[in-house]
C-alpha cells in the first residue's frame, strides 16, 4: 500500500521551473532515498511531501489524503503523522534539549512537563544520548544536534520520517553513526522513511529504493543494487562522482 504518492508534480519559483512533473510512490514501511545534485529540487520535493510547499500542478497524496485539498487543521493532522530531521537540525535555540524533543508532545497532548521530560529522555536514549536533557542547542556538537533533531522527529511516534540531508556537514564517522541510527530506528519503529541526500554511501546504506532527481525530473528508480548497476549515463555519472558526463557543474 502506498504511503506517499506524488503525481505529475510541477513547481516553479518565478520563471524558474524546479520540479517538472515528478512521479514517485513510497510504499508503507519502505525506505526511499532521493539523490541528486545541488539545485536538483530535492529540498523542494521533500517540502511538498510535508505541506511546507504546494504544487503549481499535480498532487501529493499522504496516507490517502491529497494535501492540496486540506485546510489548516487537516494539514496539521497529516503533519502529525510525520517526523522530520532537518539538514541543520533546526533545533529551537531558546529551548533546552528536552523541551525541543518534547515540543510536539507539549503542543498536542495533555502530558505534564515531567511526563514529557521522561518521554524525551527515552527518545534521546534511543538515539544514543544521555545526560544532555538540560543543555541548550548551542552547547551541542553538529552530530549531537542531528541526534537531538532525530529524537524530536520520533518523539510523536510518527508513521513517516523525512530526512533532509541527514549526513551533510558531519565527519565520516559521525555520518556513518547517523546512518546506522536511521537503519536501527527503522527496524525498531517500522516507519516509512524518505531521505534526500547526495551522499551515496548513506543512500546505499539506508535505502530500500533510490530515486535520482535531475533537472526537476526523476531519472531512475531502483534498489541500491539496481542503481549501482545502472546504464543511465546521468545516474552513472552521479553515483560515481565523475566530473565528466552529461551532468555539468553549475
Amino acid at each position: 500500500m502506498a504511503m506517499i504518492e506524488i503525481t505529475n508534480l510541477h513547481k516553479s519559483f518565478g520563471a524558474f521551473p524546479v520540479l517538472r512533473g515528478v512521479n514517485l510512490t513510497v510504499e508503507k514501511g519502505e525506505s526511499m532515498t532521493v539523490i541528486g545534485g545541488s539545485g536538483s529540487g530535492k529540498s523542494v520535493l521533500i517540502k511538498h511531501i510535508i505541506g511546507l510547499l504546494f504544487p503549481d500542478k499535480g498532487q501529493v497524496k499522504v496516507d490517502g489524503e491529497v494535501l492540496n485539498d486540506l485546510d489548516e487543521q487537516g494539514l496539521n493532522e497529516v503533519r502529525k503523522k510525520f517526523g522530520m530531521l532537518f539538514q541543520g537540525a533546526a533545533l529551537f535555540d531558546s529551548l533546552t534539549v528536552w523541551e525541543n524533543v518534547g515540543f510536539g508532545l507539549k503542543q498536542h497532548t495533555k502530558m505534564s512537563d515531567k511526563e514529557i521530560r521522561d518521554a524525551a529522555t527515552q527518545k534521546l536514549a534511543l538515539v544514543g544520548l544521555k545526560g544532555v536533557e538540560d543543555k541548550m542547542p548551542a552547547d551541542l556538537s553538529g552530530g549531537m544536534k542531528k541526534r537531538v533533531g532525530l529524537a524530536r522527529a520520533i518523539a510523536m511516534d510518527p508513521q513517516i520520517i523525512l530526512y533532509d540531508e541527514p549526513t551533510t556537514g558531519l565527519d565520516p564517522i559521525t555520518a556513518d553513526a547517523i546512518n546506522d541510527l536511521i537503519v536501527d530506528l527503522r527496524k525498531k519503529l517500522g516507519v516509512t522513511s524518505v531521505a534526500i541526500t547526495h551522499d551515496m554511501h548513506s543512500a546505499y546504506k539506508i535505502s530500500d529504493r533510490i530515486a535520482m532527481l535531475y533537472k526537476g525530473e526523476i531519472q531512475e528508480t531502483g534498489t541500491p543494487d539496481e542503481i549501482r548497476g545502472t546504464s543511465n549515463p546521468i545516474v552513472k555519472q552521479f553515483i560515481t562522482g565523475s566530473a565528466v558526463g552529461p551532468i555539468t557543474a553549475d
Binding site: N76, D93, G104
Partner: protein, 256 residues
C-alpha cells in the same frame, strides 16, 4: 528613457507587492490573535523582553528629554518673562507627543530589531519550517505573542516615559532653575487634561502595533542567510521609525 520608466515601474510594483504582503501579514496576525490556542507563557516572556528590558533605555531617554525641554523652554520663555509656563510646556509635550513618540522610537530600535533578528535567524535556520512540521502555527506561536506584548508594553512604557519626563522637567525647572515649585505644579496640572494623557497612550498602542508587526514581518520573511538577517533587522528599525513618525502626524491631527 525607457530604462528609467522600466526602473520606476519595477520599483513601484515591488513597493505595491511589499505593501500587499504587509497587509496580508497584519490580517493574519489579527485573525490568529483571537483563535486558540493562546500561548500565555510566550506572551509573558515577550512582555519581559520587549517591555521590562526596555525600561532603562526609555527611562534615560525620557528623563533627559524632560530635563532638556525644561532647560530650553526656560531660556526661551525668560525673554518674555513667562518662565512660570515651563511646567505646562513640559507636561503637555511629554504626554501628548514626546512620551509616546520617543518611547516608540526607542522600542523600535531595541525590541523591533531584536524581534526581526530572532525571527530572521529562525527562518534561515529552518526553525520556522520545523514549527510547521510539528503541526504548530508559527504565526500563533511566534508572531501573536510579540505583537500583543509590543502593544501592551508600549502602553506602559509610554506612561512611564511621560511620568519620568515630567519629573525630569520638574527637577531642572524647580531645583536647578529656581522656579517656584507650587507655580510649576499648578501650571502643569491646570494645563494638562486627562484627555492629553489618553491621546498619548492611544498613540502608544498604535506605535506598539507598528513595532510588533513590522519587526515580525521583516523577520518572518527573511531570505538569504546572515546577510538577510542583517537586512531584515535594519529594515525593521527603519520602517518602524518612519511609520511611527508619519503616523504621529496623522494621529495628532485626528486626536487634536
Amino acid at each position: 528613457m525607457n530604462n528609467l520608466l522600466e526602473l520606476i515601474g519595477n520599483k513601484t510594483l515591488a513597493l505595491l507587492r511589499e505593501m500587499g504582503a504587509v497587509i496580508i501579514f497584519c490580517g493574519q496576525t489579527f485573525r490568529w490573535t483571537f483563535s486558540r490556542p493562546f500561548y500565555l507563557k510566550n506572551l509573558l516572556k515577550q512582555m519581559e523582553q520587549i517591555g521590562v528590558n526596555s525600561v532603562p533605555v526609555v527611562l534615560t531617554t525620557a528623563i533627559s528629554t524632560g530635563m532638556v525641554l525644561a532647560l530650553q523652554s526656560y531660556t526661551g520663555f525668560k525673554r518674555f518673562g513667562a518662565q512660570s509656563l515651563i511646567g505646562a510646556v513640559v507636561s503637555l509635550s511629554m504626554t501628548r507627543e514626546l512620551g509616546p513618540v520617543l518611547t516608540g522610537l526607542m522600542v523600535a530600535g531595541r525590541a523591533g530589531a531584536s524581534m526581526a533578528a530572532e525571527l530572521g535567524t529562525m527562518r534561515v535556520t529552518e526553525q520556522i519550517d520545523a514549527l510547521y512540521t510539528l503541526a504548530t502555527n508559527p504565526m500563533k506561536y511566534l508572531v501573536v505573542p510579540r505583537f500583543l506584548a509590543s502593544m501592551i508594553m508600549m502602553f506602559f512604557l509610554s506612561a512611564l516615559g511621560m511620568y519620568i519626563g515630567i519629573l525630569g522637567g520638574y527637577f531642572v525647572g524647580v531645583k536647578v532653575l529656581g522656579t517656584n515649585p507650587t507655580t510649576y505644579m499648578n501650571q502643569s496640572i491646570n494645563n494638562t487634561e486627562v484627555s492629553d494623557i489618553w491621546y498619548g497612550l492611544i498613540k502608544s498602542l498604535v506605535f506598539g502595533a507598528v513595532v510588533g508587526l513590522i519587526g515580525c514581518y521583516k523577520g518572518f520573511n527573511t531570505e538569504g542567510g546572515a546577510e538577510g538577517v542583517g537586512k531584515a533587522t535594519t529594515g525593521a528599525v527603519v520602517v518602524s521609525c518612519m511609520l511611527i513618525l508619519i503616523l504621529d502626524y496623522f494621529l495628532s491631527a485626528l486626536l487634536w
